[in-house]
């Protein structure tokens, strides 16, 4: 950028800062307020690319797509195209034009390869168009560079894997991801219960029981935990053991504070007990 352009850009941004902040005691600037600010900026600086990008992003967020598109087009004529790419990709993502979104995100990542929002967006966009491996690569890059992950990240990746057509191997891979999450963030119901369902779906009942058993102490062996254990045992036709779990749950429930959920659980226990009686 030439020296006069740098000075002009700095003056423009100073104007934005003043218009954004001067005299306002707001803490949560609402979208409407932001729109007013951006309109004022664009009136004063009609060739300021960043203002058009911001307004287009705001229109995208609020579903005003024709106006968003118009601003993106204007922004692309006012400066480097890649500066528009992230927000334009987000726009295409929102209107479900995923291939176009991927192209824009890729353009942006060439300049900002570790920009987390873009990586996450592109991973999702790849997922939407069925490019699972590409999606996984982006998620892996995201998790590799991320200083902090939580159980939801691993569930997201596991679900991407499961969306593949070959269910048998997908389950292996998805469970590997869940176990990786457990190794990194510790055992938790979110991850382990998901893995239990996967084990049941491929009829690995012993594995499902072992996994659910690992939640015993974490959940203080709650009445709900016993019922979930009983459900696995019923599915694997271990009727006697299932009945024992249900009995333990019912005994504990009698001591617990009564809530609607626990009342429903008791009804469910009775239903399962009847089912088991029919089988025995």
């Amino acid at each position: 950028m030439s020296q006069p352009n740098i000075i002009r850009a700095r003056i423009s941004l100073a104007v934005i800062s003043l218009l954004c902040c001067a005299g306002h005691a707001f803490s949560h600037p609402g979208d409407e307020h932001k729109l007013e600010q951006l309109n004022a900026v664009i009136t004063q600086q009609p060739s300021l690319q960043s203002a058009y990008i911001q307004r287009a992003a705001l229109y995208t967020r609020t579903g005003n797509y024709p106006l968003a598109e118009k601003d993106f087009e204007a922004a692309q004529t006012l400066g480097d195209l890649y500066l528009v790419s992230h927000e334009l990709g987000a726009y295409y993502f929102k209107i479900k034009k995923y291939v176009a979104a991927v192209n824009q995100f890729t353009n942006y990542l060439e300049h900002y390869p570790n920009h987390y929002p873009t990586l996450e967006y592109r991973a999702e966009a790849y997922r939407e168009i069925g490019k699972t491996q590409k999606s996984l690569e982006d998620f892996s890059h995201f998790l590799e560079t991320s200083p902090y992950t939580n159980p939801g990240h691993y569930l997201t990746v596991a679900q991407i894997i499961l969306s593949e057509t070959d269910q048998g191997n997908s389950i292996d891979d998805a469970i590997s991801i869940i176990d990786l999450g457990i190794s990194r963030s510790g055992n938790s119901p979110q991850l382990q219960s998901f893995a239990v369902q996967l084990e049941i779906s491929r009829e690995f009942f012993d594995a499902a029981l072992t996994r659910h058993e690992s939640l015993r102490d974490i959940t203080s062996a709650s009445p709900r935990w016993h019922v979930e254990m009983a459900e696995i045992l019923v599915t694997s036709k271990q009727w006697g053991k299932a009945r024992d779990q249900l009995n333990q749950s019912a005994v504990k429930l009698a001591d617990y504070k009564k809530t609607p959920a626990r009342e429903k659980l008791l009804i469910h226990i009775e239903k399962l007990q009847r089912h088991i009686s029919d089988k025995l």
Binding site: S27, L83, R184, S220, K257, K258
Partner: protein, 519 residues
């Protein structure tokens, strides 16, 4: 076959890439360079830049600070520290913090401590009572502040928009606690809850210092602080680089990712400072069920179970939200304590500076976490025995009736369907002769919840809000008899084994609203 092969290769690459970073990313605080010798060390005469307590349980505490000192020491009683004091060498953690974990403490017992050579009469705390029991004084005393972070709020830079207002709320609480607390004068705070937006405007480390550590200094050295993530903990809304700098929109981040934090000081996406500052339980070691993340967690204090949810990040992504909800159900299913209190930033019902209706009040701007939390989480609260829910976000005080089943906009609220009724068939107010019972006399179930917005601990603003949500009680102290108070203040919660009382205390130390639940 080719596809399967490619997929497996991709997965293996994925696993190997992540696996190599595994060790570096673990953040355990359970192991320390063990120095439990019987002598008091002399390491540094300096007062720590910040000093606060984390995760006080019936058997343990984490003393956390930033400064030169390398160890902390602890002794029972009122002090001073003696030669029999136990000392622990600190572990250095993220954000230039140091942590000393003390274990095998005695429940409901007074302790004094020092950090390096720094000691002061204010460095004392009491361990929690045994899980399930109220403290020896019969009461868990909780102080709750929301949207309090205005001590660092500047628009434009250098122009403090709400100078001294957070301090006024603190002084009001201290005055109430010293003079008017009906239970015990100057009762120590057992649990200190932050409802989010506690360090304006970006939640930078520097702002946390100015808005929290420099303001609530004494309380933080004596009580464990338990936060939740607000929208102003996430820096600025995500904007494109312009080639020169990012224009800053604070509090407007829409990301679900805690690593996407950006502020005026540093435009590189990075981890939210909140997560570097606080050490929160992920493994259920302070009670509750392991969550595997510091973004949402639970803990027990005596006879009260507390849950902190994440309505700012996790709520914005369906898979993350479902995971948090699944964890919440597991957690509440295991809970047997007398009372359950839930906190998160975005209130399910509000007509203050934010609006909880799904139909936006203007052509722009609905607050999706508010809607999602109401539709997907309030059924869990009601079904699983939650008593009180606290949020902030709106900068006023609003407190609901005893609610069940209201998921829609304000105009769909019907007091006869959605609230506990008094003998006249009107919504019971929750105080005086109309206090609530945990097991509702109407439904014979523990199926109702009081929802409170307490976001005026640093400033008051209504914008277009009229404080007229019909699910909220009419406030007797409001001059216009609205369903809320446009006053600075905070909430004091007291939990005995039979009664849960919440009071809104204004900046003058006056009680402005009371709600009571009995069991």
């Amino acid at each position: 076959m080719l596809m399967i092969g490619k997929r497996l290769i991709a997965t293996m690459v994925f696993l190997s890439i992540i696996g190599c970073t595994l060790t570096a990313q673990q953040n355990s605080i359970t192991t320390f360079g063990a120095n439990t010798s019987g002598t008091t060390p002399n390491t540094s005469p300096q007062k720590p830049e910040r000093l606060f307590l984390q995760q006080i349980s019936d058997v343990s505490v984490i003393i956390k600070w930033r400064g030169e000192a390398m160890q902390a020491c602890l002794a029972t009683g009122a002090g001073p520290l003696t030669e029999k004091t136990t000392c622990v060498t600190a572990k250095e953690t993220t954000g230039r913090h140091k942590e000393a974990l003390f274990e095998q403490l005695t429940a409901d017992t007074a302790y004094v401590y020092s950090v390096g050579e720094y000691s002061a009469p204010s460095l004392r705390f009491r361990t929690a009572p045994p899980t399930g029991s109220p403290p020896k004084d019969g009461n868990v005393h909780v102080w709750i502040i929301g949207d309090s972070g205005t001590a660092t709020e500047q628009y434009p830079l250098g122009n403090y928009t709400h100078p001294g207002e957070a301090k006024m709320v603190l002084d009001g609480f201290l005055k109430y606690n010293a003079e008017s607390n009906p239970l015990l004068k100057n009762e120590a705070v057992d649990v200190f809850l932050l409802l989010g937006d506690n360090a304006y405007i970006d939640g930078t480390d520097k702002e946390w210092q100015g808005a929290v550590f420099d303001l609530y200094t004494e309380i933080l050295t004596q009580s464990a602080v338990w936060p939740t993530i607000g929208n102003h903990e996430m820096g600025s809304g995500e904007l494109n680089p312009t080639g020169t700098r990012i224009v800053h929109y604070p509090g407007a981040s829409l990301t679900a990712n805690p690593n996407n934090y950006m502020s005026r000081e540093n435009l590189t996406p990075r981890r939210i400072p909140y997560l570097d500052i606080f050490t929160l339980p992920t493994d259920g070691n302070v009670g509750g069920v392991a969550s595997g993340t510091e973004q949402y967690y639970s803990f027990d204090y005596g006879n009260v179970h507390f849950v902190s949810l994440d309505s700012q990040l996790s709520a914005r992504d369906k898979i993350q939200r479902d995971a948090m909800r699944g964890w919440l159900i597991a957690d509440l299913s295991s809970n047997q304590l007398d009372w359950t209190v839930v906190i998160f930033h975005h209130p399910p019902y509000t007509k203050g500076s934010h609006d909880s209706d799904e139909k936006p009040s203007s052509f722009l701007g609905i607050d999706t976490p508010i809607i999602d939390m109401r539709k997907e989480f309030t059924p869990v609260f009601e079904d699983y025995g939650v008593d009180l829910v606290y949020g902030g976000h709106s900068h006023s005080y609003e407190r609901s009736y005893y609610l069940n089943g209201h998921r829609g906009d304000a105009n769909s609220f019907d007091e006869k369907i959605h609230s506990e009724l008094n003998s006249d068939g009107k919504a019971a107010t929750g105080y005086g002769g109309e206090s609530y019972f945990q097991v509702s006399p109407g439904s014979q179930k523990d199926d109702k919840v009081v929802y409170t917005v307490a976001g005026s601990s640093g400033k008051v603003s209504l914008k277009k809000g009229k404080l007229d949500h019909p699910a909220h009680t009419v406030q007797q102290h409001d001059p216009e008899r609205r369903r809320g108070l446009a006053e600075l203040g905070s909430v004091v919660l007291d939990a005995s084994s039979t009664e849960l009382t919440a009071r809104f205390i204004n900046e003058k130390g006056e009680i402005r609203d009371t709600v009571v639940i009995r069991r």
